[in-house]
Symmetry: C2
Subunit: 361 residues, 2 copies
DNA sequence: GAATCACTCCAAAGCGCTTTGGATATTTGA
DNA sequence: TCAAATATCCAAAGCGCTTTGGAGTGATTC
């Protein structure tokens, strides 16, 4: 049954390593019980240090790793975090923000030995999807993306008892819950005020979809600034759409063709701002002189806002950083489930770039 | 032990649903064996149709879902696909292409009942990471992203025996393996030729990092076209970097300031092309008239290349589509492991937009 | 009327791990 | 010197599921 020559075993297993080895094989190879090997690997104290090093070396040599599913079954934990991305069926769009956020979070998970699971969920099926995730037990907690106003997912998840952290917040939800968010209202109020102080009065807002909470708050900030300075709020200068380049272009083109064209634009995304810039150029106007643009900037790695001198004057907040922070909040929430919800409000920096200037008189 | 009133049980379980219920409970509730319930749920024939509908209804009502880990342990399959994204440590950049690809793949997985796992891997640790994934058995197969020239991951994965599909190919790897790729060489040859036919002779290439296989092939295509038309290949007109906006801007700005400035640019990404456009404007030049741009376009949802009339003349190939196709290839590879590797070469469309025109004479 | 068959259903083993509750040496204390 | 404490190790149960190998009905066949 068990050949005595370690070497024989060794080479035998070595040859077999493509068919992942298990604890039983490893313990037979070591002439130890599975219990002891398991304890040695997991750092329990009741195992001789010599034995432990022997076990660790063998595990290393034979390329052993515990099977995730089995470990999960036995411990009741999945060692995985889920990211649930709502997908509108009409347009299966993936906000580029998402990639950077995930990259940040992924780094944190890797440090903690957690896996990351992605689930795309059509928005009609959300309730089912979350129940599903909970019941199937594939993850220990989830990050909620793209919260809308009064997002029912929050009460659902609290009811279900699945730890979660929201990237963003949800206006009108009164339950306590964990979130990390940028101060969107404050940022847009500041940005709009900055334009007003430059003398602009006709300031357009090219916002994201306003059932999304972040966009709703941004509009509030924009409106606050206008109100505080006695500038009238003109619905004709406000748009709310998916934040594409073409959207920025079209909206700006249309507005700039009016007799009472706006002299400044506040954009919710650098991509939209790029669209606005295109319209500005096409209209034969000059940025910062004829038309000013200020935009939110998520500091995406592929859309850096210039180098030394920023292209756009911007409200900057790194979404990559938000990702790592959200991940760490969730991990600590999972390890200390009794604790109260954590919240974190990030401030956006106002970066002065080359897209703003005093209003033409 | 078992109260007779179905109602009692029902409400009892209903109250408990936040603590996911299991097969044993469900079968006790139904007064059936676990075997029968399992078979009923999984569509095996040896179960009465009445029983089956009764089981299905109860499962639905009590919100039962089989535990993924347990199911995986029992079946030996993970019902999950892994996506491994190499991350250079210096710059943790996430190519925006990735989001769209994932979205496409995710749709396919959802249809097939598979989960999606993401792993970010620092490129020094790749070998370990893949062995890890195999040994831990968390996924049934993986999608390999961002292949470089002579990518060692391919032979590693074949050796390990983990089904995989590469998004892209790897020059100099001679093993058979499954991949889906765009005809990058052909596309860039066509695009460059298009510019030559418009009379351009000084054509710059703003490529991605050329250790990446796609970028290497694109350069080959570009060079082929120049050679075929007797245009000399000028290293001073060729750049190879991470495809950001700032890269396009800087490179174009520098080149346009020369006495023998290029009259056309071939870009590897629409984002880089946007940077070039910025430099062109800033130099007081007019697109299509003074300087032409042709770019690869991955048809990203947030970076649509205009609407009716494309902004850029482009070589278009939807990465979202590539994602769904890759996913389906992998799924079929997993279900029929004996089959030979599948390969799929997608052609990029040449889209004529408003960024190209005849060379100024 | 016994044997065969199709139809339903079930008990129990097993997937690979952790962990409980000892068992067996080895030291220690008085 | 013997009991008690300590240090190591182990057998076996259990996590929630699938699946093997029957068992128990009636209905059908000869």
């Amino acid at each position: 049954m068990s050949p005595c020559l370690g070497l024989t075993w060794h080479s035998q297993f070595k040859a077999l390593w493509k068919y992942a080895m298990n604890l039983k094989q490893l313990s037979e190879y070591l002439n130890l019980s599975q219990t002891t090997v398991s304890r040695a690997l997991n750092g329990y104290p009741e195992v001789n240090e010599n034995t432990r090093t022997r076990v660790l070396k063998a595990a290393q040599d034979l390329n052993y790793r515990p099977n995730t599913r089995a470990k999960g079954l036995a411990t009741g934990r999945a060692l995985a975090i889920g990211h649930v991305i709502p997908v509108s069926n009409q347009h299966e769009m993936v906000n580029p923000v998402f990639g950077d956020f995930i990259a940040g979070a992924g780094a944190a998970y890797a440090r903690a030995g957690y896996d990351m699971m992605l689930t795309l969920v059509p928005d009609q099926e959300e309730v089912r999807a979350y129940q599903d995730i909970k019941a199937r037990g594939t993850v220990d907690g989830i990050i909620v993306h793209g919260p809308i106003i009064n997002d029912e997912r929050i009460s659902l998840l609290s009811r279900i008892g699945l730890p979660f952290v929201v990237h963003g917040r949800s206006t009108d939800v009164n339950l306590p819950y964990s979130w990390i968010d940028v101060n969107n209202r404050g940022a847009f109020e500041r940005g709009t005020q900055f334009l007003i102080e430059l003398g602009h009065r006709k300031i357009a807002l090219l916002n994201g979809l306003e059932h999304m909470d972040f966009a709703f708050r941004r509009r509030k900030g924009y409106e606050n600034a206008l109100r505080n300075h006695g500038v009238s709020i003109d619905p004709r200068l406000m748009r709310s759409e998916e934040m594409t380049e073409v959207y920025g272009y079209r909206a700006a083109k249309e507005m700039l063709s009016r007799s009472d064209a706006p002299t400044a634009f506040v954009c919710s995304s650098i991509i939209t701002a790029i669209g606005v810039r295109r319209a500005v150029h096409e209209a034969g106007l000059v940025l910062a002189r004829d038309v000013s643009i200020i935009t939110h900037d998520d500091a995406l790695s592929y859309l850096e806002n210039g180098d030394d001198v920023p292209i756009f004057t911007a409200l900057r907040s790194s979404v990559w950083y938000a990702g790592t922070e959200a991940a760490e909040m969730l991990l600590s929430l999972i390890s200390l489930p009794s604790h109260a919800p954590k919240t974190r409000l990030l401030e956006a920096e106002l970066i002065i770039g080359r897209s703003t200037g005093p209003a033409a008189t």
